[in-house]
Structure formats: C-alpha cells, structure tokens
Amino acid sequence: MSRLSVWLRRGLRALRHPLGGDGDADGARSDLVLVGGLVVGVYALFTVMALLGPFDGVGNVLSQLETVTLLVLVYVMLALALNLQWGYAGLLNLGVAGFMAIGAYTMAMLSAAPDATVPGLGLPLVVGIVGGFLAATLFGALTALPAIRLRADYLAIVTLAFSEIIRLVVRSEAASEFTIAGQRLGTGGANTFPLPPNPVKVLLYENPSEPLVAAVDSPTVAGDLMLEIADVFNLSASQAENILYTLLLLIPVGAFYLLLTRIGNSPFGRVLRAIREDELVAGSLGKNTRRFKITTFAVGCGLMGLAAILWQLQGQGRLSPGTFEPELTFFVFVALILGGSGSNTGSVVGGIVFAAVLLEGPRALKRVVDENFDVSADPDTIIEASQGVEPLFAYLLSDSSIEALRFIMLGVVLVYLMQRQPQGLLGHRRGQAATVSLPTREEEEP
C-alpha cells in the first residue's frame, strides 16, 4: 500500500516537472514563457525585415525564418554543451571548433560512399553519426586525461592549440586522401567534403543521393506530400526540405536541453558546481574531482561533435575546414556568456539572441537597407569612402564590411559583458542542484 503511494507521488512529481526547467515547475513555466516570447519577438523582427527587404513571396519569408531558426538551434545546442563544461564545471575549453570538426569529419569519413569524390567507408549514416559523436567524446577524454589538471588559462591555450592542430591536419594534403588497410579514406583536405544525403532527404526522395533537381522527380510518399504543401506556400523543393529538416532538428535540441537539465539537477551536477566553486572542498569531501572533470569534458565535446554533425548535414551538406576556425569557438562563448553561463535556460536564451541578433541580424538589416535606400556609390577603399556620408555608408554596408562590423560588434559585446554583466542575461538565476526539491521539507508518509 505504501509502495503504491510512493509510486503515485513519484508520478505526480514527474507531471509537475514536465520540462525539467532550471528549478521547480514554476521556474520551468516562466522559462517557457521567456523563451517563447523571445522566439516570437525574433520571428516578428525577421518577418518585418524580410517584408521590408526585397519581398519575394511568402516562401522567401519562410525561408529566411528557416535560416535564422537553423542557426539559433545550432547555437543553442553548442551553448548548452559548452555550458556543461564552462558553466557547470568551470572548464575553459577554447577548442570547441576542433571537437566539432572531429565529430563532423568522422561522421563524413564513416558514411561517405567509397566511390565518392572524397571516399569514405560507406557505412549507414546512423553509424556515421554515432561514430562521430563517439569520436568527439573520445578525443575530449584523451585531451582531458592529461590536460585537466592544468590551470584554467593553460587549459584554454592547450585546447585552442589542439583545435588548430586538428584543423591544420584535416586540411593538409596528407590527410586529404590516404589508404588504410586497402581502404581509401580522406578528409578532402582544403577542399569541401560532400556529405551523404541527410535523413530528411532519405525520407523524401527515392534517390536521395541524386542532385536535388533529379531527386525531386522521384519523391517518396512523404516527399509527394511535402512537395504539395510546398506548392501551397510557393516554396521551392529545397526550401521546403530545409524547413522540414530544421523543424525536425527541434527534437535533438529538446533532447540536449533535457539531458543537460537532468545532469544539472542531479547529484553529478551538484559535484560539478562544487568543483567550480572550490575544487579543494569537493576533494576534501571525497569527490574524485578528476573523474568528474574528465567525464564532463568528454561528454561536452561529444555533444559539440553531435551538434556539428546535425548542423552540417543540413541541405546540400558539405564540410569545409574553414568552418572550424577558432572564431567559431568564440561565437559559442559569446552565445553562452550572453545568456549567462551556469544556467541551461540562459544557454538557450543566449543561443537565440546571439544567432538571431548578432549573427544573422546584420545580414538581414543589410538587405533592408539595400532595398530601401539608394547606396549605389561603391567606394573601394576607406579613403574613397571618407569623402562623404553616403559613400562611407555604402562602404560600411558592403558584404565584406558587414561581416567585419559583425565581428567588431561581437568583440565589443564580449568586452561589455565581461566588464558590466559577467553573469549574462540570466546568469543570476541558478538551477537547483538536486533531483528532489530542496528548500521545503517533505512530510513523511504515515
């Protein structure tokens, strides 16, 4: 009888915590309102900008929203993974890009067809994805094993050097194609590495590895349905396919969030927070701090690898070593710090704000300005541009300048955050470090 009541209570508790949340059920609800409001705001902003830009039909607007959403989801995943390492355990990993590269390239080498331009093992994509995740985890563990005892700044330098070694090796001629045990393999070197078709393509087309123009001629049942819906919204096949992919990406993003919230609220996460605050105390209470740090580092790296795989598989996926430069790592840090390291909801908010406002915002804004203002002058140099206001404006809005301005803005934001708001937008909020609710004492069953 009493066992039954325990089970009942447990079930009720699970219901009250449908989203996990950083804290209790109320916290989860307010988190949901916050994130939801943010998403609505971002969509409203980008819809307005898409309408003010060269308006090109509903399909175009949807496609632009899809682009933002994809980036948001990718950075949410990356920020969550980094939050585990930096926010929870205080491990300063500046090698994010390197571990992402390991995940993505391992997946590609396992799954690419043996007769493709860049040959691979031709294993099923699932094997490739799992293999990429495991490879990134393993490399994370191998890095952490000796490096974890280093001071935080040295760990930062070692991990940055490590990620650069990976990038340089991946893009080297020696790695571009080689033979192991009679099996031709390669990374494609400095060239791009075309990826096998993603699961969405497999779902939609009978011949998913064909180029899209050919593949749409023989859709599956699901593909037929999608193409018809696409017609209604005046979407091209590739736009519709991308939207479907991005929508499905919500599943792994949700899984990331649940996993990391679960880790954060577990006794494991409690030890991590203790390590971050005072490692000697955690050790003096008998916690094997090395084991916790190595596990955390490895899992975080694996998740980064997985996020990279899910990101790169989108559309006509191609890997390029240029994607994995250290700037990518700094992007993820800005996203995390912006939202507030230590809080999973903060990571989500940071990922949204970073990807939408800082990363994609300037591009969208440029389209609006290009469309609505006459910036025909096109000065080549800053000297020509400084002849007047309009040429200067035109110069600063050129494609390369917009990119550069974006980076300058990121740099300024980073400095500002570290000076004024090191806890980020949501950093003052802290999750509860326990599986059961702590502040109130539960009445014992009679």
Binding site: L92, D153, V158, I165, E173, F333, I383, I408, G411, M418
Partner: protein, 366 residues
C-alpha cells in the same frame, strides 16, 4: 568503509612520470634520424643549415613579440589573446609609415596608406638597402603607435577590470582581439599586399650546396637582437625596471613596499606594446607581405614561446621563441610544409603537460 583503490590512479601517476621520459626518447630518435639522414644523404648539410637559419630568423621575431605578452601575463595575471592583433597593429602602422616616407609625392595617397587592395610595392622599390630611412621610420612608428594603442585599450578595457580574475580578462581580451582585427580589416581590406621588392641576397657555400642569406632576414635578427639587449639593460639598470621585476615576482609584496602599481602597469604596456609593434613590423619585413591576420595567425606561436620559456621571464620568451622558430623549420625534415606550424603547437601542448612552469623553471622573474 571499504578501501576503494582506484587502478586509474596508479596508471595516471605512472603516466605523469612516463611522459617526460617518452618525450626524451622521441627527441633522441628524431636526433638520431636527423644524423642518419645527413649521413645517407636524404638531407644535405646546406638544407639543415638553411632550416636552422630561417628558424633562428623566425624565432627572433616570435621571441621579440613574446616579451610583451610575457610581461603583461605575469604582471596583470592574464593571458592576453589580443596580443596577436597588437602585432598586426604594429605591422600596419609601421608599413604605412614606410610607404609614405618612401613614396610620398610619387604615387597616390590610397596606395601609400595601404588601403587599396591592389597596392603593390613594386613602384616604390622598398628594401632595406635602397630605402633604409623609410624602414627605420616604419620601425619607430610601429613601436610608438602600438604602445599607444595598447595603453588606450588598457584604459578602456582592462583597467576597469583590475580586480576581475584572469579568466574574465582573458575572455575580454578575446573580444578586444576580434574588434581590433576586424577594424583593421575595414580600414585596410583583407587582401594580402606585397611590401618589399628586390631584396638583396648573399649565397654562402655550405658543404656541397649553398645557403642563401636574405638581407631582410639578417636585418630582423640584428634589430630584434638589439631591441632585446636594450630591454635587458632597461630592466636591469633602471629603477622602473627593478619595480617591474618586483611586480612580476610578487605583486602583493610589491604593493606593500609601495611600488606605484598603475605606473608600473602603464610602463609595462608601453614597453611590451612597443616591442610587440616592432616585432610586427619586422615579421612583415621578413615575409615581404602582410594581411590583417598576420598577428592572429602567430598568436599561438607567441604563446608557445612564452609558456615554453616560463611566463614572466623575458629571457624565457626569447629562448622559447628560438625553440619554436627552429622547431617549425626543422620539422620540415619530416613533415610537409602545411603541417610545420602544427608541430609547434604539438610542442606547446606537450610542454604544458610536462612542465607547465616553463623550461627555465617555475620562478617568474623578468
């Protein structure tokens, strides 16, 4: 309570002791292989001398750039990721000056200030023998402007954060690095421009072959050497130098003994910035070309040099620079060109794992 002996701990303590031994064996094997290649002829003596010489040239430039990083690392207690872009600032400030001095009146202004993407040095004929004044002026301005920029950035960014921990400063410096690099990109565009033409060379016979000495390589070694010597004298024989050494050794103690911290900090930035700017100018001189990623591309090498030599030690930074420079060039015996930089990073990683306090011991002394 049961005894939980963790077998992993035995392994990890073994590994800690094994790693240096393993590295020593690896080094010995490489050395033996080098000898074997020399004997059987896979590697000519002239090629070896060429690798060592160009390694020395690179190492001197990296070491010079490392002094400033090492000083601020120990006195302000943070790894400054903007240091690479301070190098770039020096290179651009210096070379704009050199171009203006060498070519004022003969070509258009936008070419002279390097902003034009089709800038070419051909018409100006800049090299150390035909335009020595322009190059000297460039070096001085590179040092001056970089010192100014570092002090200004300290005012705006780092000084308000004096009480923050090293990691917050590190992350802020990443922001400074991004902002600085892309500001330069907007001003000067991203193209790689040529700086020098017709660099004089001398060939010296070594063994069966010959080694070509470029005038600019020699210039870099000589000027970097002089600047290092000057820094040594400054720190050793002036009151400010003593104060800086004291602060690098023990900040709290220095504060107690009444050394004016902010003044020492400013002097550190000025000295470090000037040397870094000069290093940037010299690196571009040696390469004969530059783009806005010049310093960022070398940041990890400079970090490697500083950590190798021991943070806080200027002599360590110089020795570390030489080791890194020679490692990069000598690795070409075994590795393709595109992986030679990676070899320096590998050295850095192993160094941190085996002896995080640097080759010259753990004492942080300028």
């Amino acid at each position: 309570m049961a005894v939980r002996d963790n077998p992993g701990r035995v392994l990890s303590s073994l590994r800690v002791n094994l790693l240096p031994a393993l590295l020593a064996v690896l080094g010995l094997v490489l050395l033996l292989d080098l000898g074997r290649r020399l004997v059987i002829g896979g590697l000519t003596l002239s090629a070896l001398v060429r690798f060592l010489w160009t390694g020395l040239v690179r190492g001197m430039a990296i070491g010079l750039a490392g002094i400033g990083l090492s000083l601020t690392y120990s006195i302000l207690g943070f790894a400054n990721f903007a240091h690479g872009d301070y190098i770039t600032v020096g290179a651009f400030a210096g070379w704009v000056t050199t171009f203006v001095v060498a070519g004022v009146g003969s070509v258009g202004l936008d070419l002279l200030v390097l902003v034009s993407s089709d800038a070419s040095a051909g018409e100006l004929g800049i090299n150390v023998l035909s335009t020595p004044v322009a190059i000297a002026a460039g070096l001085v301005v590179a040092a001056g402007i970089t010192a100014l920029v570092t002090v200004a950035l300290d005012r705006v960014v780092f000084r308000p954060m004096r009480d923050a921990n090293g990691i917050a400063l590190l992350i802020a410096s990443v922001g400074v690095a991004l902002a600085l690099r892309y500001t330069l990109l907007i001003l000067f565009s991203g193209s790689v421009r040529t700086l020098t033409t017709d660099v004089p060379t001398t060939a010296v016979g070594v063994g069966s072959g010959e080694v070509v000495f470029r005038a600019h390589d020699v210039t870099v070694v000589v000027l970097a050497g002089l600047l290092m010597l000057g820094t040594h004298l400054l720190l050793q024989y002036t009151k400010l130098g003593t104060a800086m050494r004291a602060m690098a050794d023990n900040k709290e103690l220095a504060l107690v003994t009444g050394i004016p911290t902010e003044r020492v900090v400013r002097t550190t930035w000025i000295l470090g910035g000037a040397l870094t700017g000069a290093a940037g100018f010299l690196i571009a001189l040696q390469l004969g070309g530059m783009s806005t990623t010049l310093g960022w591309d070398r940041l990890l090498l400079v970090f490697a040099a500083v950590i190798l030599g021991g943070v806080g030690s200027i002599y360590g930074a110089i020795v570390g620079g030489l080791i890194i420079g020679i490692t990069i060039r000598l690795s070409l015996v075994w590795l393709p060109n595109e992986l030679s930089i990676a070899s320096a990073f590998v050295v850095l990683v192993f160094m941190l794992l085996v002896r995080p306090n640097g080759l010259l011991g753990g004492v942080e002394t300028v």
